[in-house]
């Protein structure tokens, strides 16, 4: 890997070993953890130089052959292991150092260093088990936890301990990893966890006696009466449209009690609108201000109440001069308390869409800040994916930006290779198939009825706004064409588009011109496809026996360089963001380097697959990695199997390039994911892939339309597949003349009957099916419209 000089001084190289992977564990109590992990930590600590705040590790021990100068992370030197192992001393606020300022964001270790404590803190905050500690209601929580808080405060000599989530997690973490201290802290942490739970999700079951329950009911009886009485009055007022201040006050009373009473939020707005009729603009603004305050009180109680947030939006949208800056501050505060609250993030985007209080660039920097606080903030990574396209307007800019992005994900991945957030973003950065633009193939085939089909296969799925969004002209004369997809349902996104084309009156060297109406061709991500006109001769396009149109495919490769996509958003032209081969190779090296340290890192392996799949002829390597992943990540082994099938199929397609036969037999395929790229083959052999027909529940139903893409198929071989029925999509193949169904499980004529629908069918091979032993060949033949039956 390149350890480039980085002007910002941010970390550029490899971080240290991480924590051992979480092994499968059914322990739901976060305070019990794998003993081998504790041992690992203790062992690590033995060996490393460390500070009160953790262990600083240089790269020396791990990369002996790498000569580098290392800076040691800011730390105190007069510390010993005993201090580190004592949580009361570990978090010691008396030291006058910025490292003790838990509220600040300057916790990132210095370049080329590794602070185990930093990573543990991050690890703890990433680990879903620690999310138990999440709560926004720290005020109420503190009250409820007063006793425990006092104990912990005195224990840790820290006043604001439970207002900082990270600190909570650190304590939880130390309680976990250092068993000698576990008991003392565990008790408090547990109490904390239990008491921080609120409402609907995560309400701990409490065991109360019948007696206490009855007592509670008795106590609630008067409360219920009072509540229902208020509800009765307010319903009366609603019915009679009484918008007086008494009604308003009752809504205040009920809503502060029950934020989810949406009808009363509605009524409250109606009352306000009524009152506004007689108020001056100043009085109105004052009312709105009060309303904002009230909403804030309610939302503190229930931060995830959709109704309360709607109310806030309504207020702001109806105010004369809404203070959007204040809203931004509010949402900053919210996202500090709970970094993943999607109401918070949505509200943030809302505020920004309504005002200009923060620019795209500022928002981008905000996500950078959030991510550097916690790499596992998937919400921030997500937001980044929405901002980047708005920042990129030129190719050079994208290259610069993407270098920075790859650097950032690398940091995250080295810190905790188990955290999926950065990896998912990484895969997106690398781009998927959707980033390819252009035409893969273009051809003419002659059907059994002697008519011609013109086919155009694109690199990505598109939809045509109308059937003549693609125009064909011969000798400058526009032909009557109607493009459709070969599948049963029309008007869908598809890679393959076909149309009848009458060329019977033209000579072989006549030129065919294909033009694309850029406003009528759309991609799934709403981009416009801009592709130049194509021009080929009939004989070039025509596929017949040995003449596979490889010349055209070669020409298309250079043609595709002129193809692009465009999207306009707020008058910014968003251009396509593709990764160059150089960058891909750099990424390949970088991921491989991580794999040297972590040979079984699932996410690194998966990313390696994504990178390799963009390079040529890597199928064997990819299949090998996927086979390995299947064993590492057993829960998802069938995903890897399906994925393997895709690459096996790709390999077969590549090997078949010479003639028009596609041999997919005996590949243990579980799905036919690339079948939409097989429309030109005349003979397709899918024999001996019984998993394919077993694993797909719906293969016999209409929704399985895989076979409809084989529009040029004359011979289809499906021997040894344990087939019991004819897959429906085979019936749409208009050129099929011969079908092999040997050694399958057909036992009745009824099961074969659908074959009658294929008008072109001349011959069927049925040897080694139960039906053959129980029935005369002649009888089968008779039943099947007298086509040839071979048994």
């Amino acid at each position: 890997m390149n350890n480039k000089k980085n002007p910002q001084g941010t970390f550029n190289g490899i971080r240290s070993v991480r924590f051992p992977p979480i092994t499968q564990s059914y322990i739901s109590d976060p305070c019990r953890y794998e003993p081998q992990k504790v041992k690992y930590f203790n062992d690590t600590l033995e060996k490393k130089p460390h500070s009160i705040h953790g262990v600083c590790e240089t790269l020396d021990s791990r990369f002996k052959n790498r000569k580098q100068n290392h800076t040691v992370a800011p730390c105190d030197h007069n510390t010993s292991q005993s201090l580190l192992l004592d949580p009361t001393k570990v978090i010691d606020m008396r030291k006058d150092s910025h490292r003790y300022n838990f509220g600040s964001t300057s916790m990132t270790p210095a370049p080329n260093t590794y602070d185990i404590n930093y990573a543990t803190g991050r690890y703890a905050s990433n680990n879903y088990k620690f999310q138990l500690l999440k709560s926004n209601e720290h005020k109420e929580r503190d009250e409820a936890n007063k006793v425990q808080l006092d104990t912990i405060r005195s224990l840790l000599k820290l006043d604001n301990i439970f207002t900082d989530k990270r600190t909570c997690r650190r304590i939880a973490h130390f309680a976990l990893y250092f068993p000698q201290r576990q008991y003392k802290i565990q008790f408090n942490i547990n109490q904390f966890i239990v008491l921080s739970y609120k409402n609907f999700h995560g309400v701990k079951k409490s065991y109360v006696s019948e007696e206490i329950r009855n007592e509670k009911k008795l106590k609630e009886k008067s409360e219920i009466e009072e509540y229902l009485n208020l509800v009765k009055i307010i319903n009366e007022k609603r019915k009679n449209k009484v918008y007086d201040s008494e009604a308003f006050n009752i809504t205040t009373k009920i809503l502060s009690y029950n934020v989810e009473y949406y009808t009363l939020w509605n009524f409250r707005r109606k009352i306000l609108l009524h009152q506004f009729e007689t108020l001056t603009p100043e009085e109105k603004e004052k009312k709105f201000e009060n309303e904002l305050e009230f909403q804030e009180k309610c939302v503190r109680k229930k931060p995830k109440s959709y109704w309360a947030w709607n109310h806030r939006r309504w207020i702001l949208e109806n105010m004369e001069k809404p203070n959007w800056k204040r809203e931004l501050l509010l949402v900053n505060g919210m996202l500090n308390l709970d970094t993943r609250n999607f109401h918070g993030w949505d509200y943030r985007r809302y505020v920004i869409s309504k005002s200009k209080v923060s620019s795209v660039k500022e928002e981008f920097e905000y996500t950078t800040k959030k991510i550097s606080q916690s790499f596992s903030n998937y919400s921030a990574w997500h937001y980044r994916s929405k901002l980047i396209p708005k920042l990129v307007t030129k190719k050079t800019k994208w290259e610069k930006l993407s270098t920075n992005e790859f650097e950032m994900v690398k940091n995250a991945e080295y810190t905790d290779p188990n955290d999926q957030s950065a990896w998912l973003y990484h895969c997106w950065l690398l781009g998927d198939d959707n980033n390819l633009v252009g035409i893969k193939n273009c051809y003419l085939i002659q059907n059994v009825d002697n008519k011609y089909t013109f086919g155009i296969e694109l690199l990505k799925k598109i939809m045509l706004k109308s059937s003549n969004s693609i125009q064909i002209s011969i000798n400058d004369e526009v032909q009557k064409v109607e493009f459709t997809t070969p599948t049963i349902t029309q008007n869908k996104f598809s890679k393959l588009w076909i149309s009848n084309l009458d060329i019977s009156n033209f000579a072989n060297d006549t030129k065919i011109k294909v033009s694309f109406n850029k406003d009528e061709i759309i991609t799934i991500d709403d981009k416009k496809l801009i592709i130049p006109e194509l021009e080929f001769t009939i004989q070039d396009l025509y596929i017949k026996n040995e003449n596979i149109n490889s010349e055209i495919q070669k020409q298309l490769k250079s043609y595709n360089k002129d193809c692009k996509e465009e999207k306009e958003e707020n008058h910014i032209k968003i251009v396509n963001t593709q990764i160059s081969e150089d960058v891909l190779n750099e990424e390949l090296e970088s991921v491989k380097e991580l794999l040297e340290l972590e040979p079984d890192s699932k996410w690194a392996l998966l990313t390696l697959v994504k990178i390799l799949s963009k390079l040529d002829n890597k199928e064997d390597e990819i299949i090998e990695i996927l086979e390995k992943l299947k064993d590492i990540d057993t829960y998802r082994n069938e995903y890897y199997l399906d994925f393997v099938s895709q690459f096996k199929m790709n390999k077969c397609i590549k090997q078949s390039n010479k003639d028009m036969t596609l041999d997919l037999s005996s590949q243990n395929l579980t799905r036919l994911s690339l079948i939409d790229e097989c429309s030109t083959y005349t003979k397709i052999d899918i024999s001996n892939n019984s998993d394919l027909f077993n694993s797909i529940n719906d293969i016999y139903s209409y929704s399985y339309d895989a076979f409809s893409y084989l529009i040029n198929a004359r011979i289809l071989i499906l021997n040894n597949n344990k087939l019991k029925e004819i897959p429906k999509s085979i019936l749409s193949l208009q050129n099929l003349t011969e079908i092999y169904l040997e050694n399958n499980e057909f036992s009745t004529l009824e099961e074969l009957k659908p074959l009658n629908q294929i008008k072109s069918l001349k011959c069927i091979h049925l040897a080694q099916n139960p039906i053959v032993s129980s029935m005369e060949t002649e009888k089968i033949k008779e039943y099947l419209n007298n086509i040839d039956v071979h048994c």
Binding site: I22, E223, Y257, N266, S376, H382, K461, S695, S703
Partner: protein
């Protein structure tokens, strides 16, 4: 695919206890919580009724009485409120129509009025507002399309526009958010994938990418979470699983481990399911625990439809079965 057997699991499904829990749901009028949750009573009824049908004991509730109550929640504007004397909202309008459909009492409702209410909530960009106050969310796209499909009146709205809006909410990970630019969330993914399935437009979904993201929701304890790096929760057994099922990739997770997790979230004393082991049960998680098990092929349960979250028998009777994903 190997068949799921009851004996495979250390705990069995406590059908009797769950039925008892569901039956007694309405008997808690002496508790404050019962009254505070009134605003979502219709959702609660839908969760409870559907659960009894999937447990294959529809007789637990009196469907006549329930239908009568549901009808009393319909307002002048044609929509349904969360309870009597509550304003109309799409969330409750769908629940009402679903319950009436399940109980086969749809004939008793003024359908045209409902259709008019729903259709009026579509915005020019194709999205749907939840009510007259204008909140937009892809949840409401699902509510509207599902409701209209059940009533066989999809013609009342602009379906291509509705699809276009859902498409805009698709993210880099293949998932969907509540509005344009919002983060992917499994609950929201169910709504969007479900909405697309209802109108037969699953071609928009990148099934491999989305399926992979959804499969990664399974945690080492077998449970599913709703977003990366979050806690597992029984309700995601439904949101994630139904989405996977609609795009035909349910085999990408470990079924046995998930069944184990769901079963461990039952309260074996009182009946009902909680979000995770040891928490308080509620009817919401009870339904999604049970429907999750049904999708996973747990024995002796009625089949649930992944798109509508209603019994398959109801969907067949209504003749609204949608295609599941085609393989490409």
């Amino acid at each position: 695919m190997s068949e799921i057997k009851v004996e495979q699991f250390p705990i069995k499904l406590e059908v009797e206890k769950h039925l008892k829990y569901l039956k007694e749901l309405n008997n808690h009028q002496d508790e404050l919580e019962y009254w505070l949750s009134e605003a979502l009573r219709l959702n609660g009824i839908y969760w409870g009724v559907t659960a009894t049908y999937i447990l294959d004991h529809p007789e637990i509730y009196d469907s006549k009485e329930i239908s009568k109550f549901i009808l009393s929640c319909q307002n002048e504007d044609g929509g349904f409120g969360g309870c009597t004397d509550h304003d109309s909202h799409l969330l409750y309008t769908l629940s009402a129509i679903q319950v009436l459909a399940i109980c086969d009492t749809l004939s008793e409702v003024n359908k045209d009025k409902v259709v008019k209410y729903v259709a009026k909530l579509q915005n020019p960009d194709g999205s749907f507002s939840g009510d007259e106050w204008g909140e937009v969310d892809t949840r409401f796209s699902y509510c509207a399309l599902s409701c209209l499909k059940i009533l066989h009146r999809l013609d009342a709205v602009d379906v291509p526009k509705a699809v276009e809006y859902v498409k805009k909410c698709m993210n880099f990970d293949g998932g969907f958010g509540s509005v344009e630019s919002a983060e992917s969330h499994s609950g929201q993914i169910f709504c969007c994938v479900g909405a697309l399935a209802i109108v037969d437009r699953l071609d928009i979904v990148d099934a491999d990418k989305l399926g992979w993201w959804l499969a990664e929701r399974q945690l080492p304890n077998g449970g599913l979470n709703g977003r990366p790096e979050k806690l597992e929760d029984v309700c995601y057994s439904w949101w994630v699983l139904s989405s996977l099922s609609i795009i035909d990739r349910i085999h990408w997770i470990n079924k046995e481990k998930l069944i184990n997790f769901i079963l461990s979230c039952q309260d074996t004393e009182t009946g009902g399911f909680s979000d995770r082991q040891g928490d308080m049960v509620d009817v919401f998680h009870t339904l999604f625990g049970i429907t999750g098990l049904s999708l996973l092929g747990y024995p002796n349960l009625a089949k649930v439809d992944p798109v509508y979250c209603m019994p398959v028998s109801t969907i067949e009777r209504l003749n609204i079965k949608t295609r599941t994903y085609n393989q490409i």
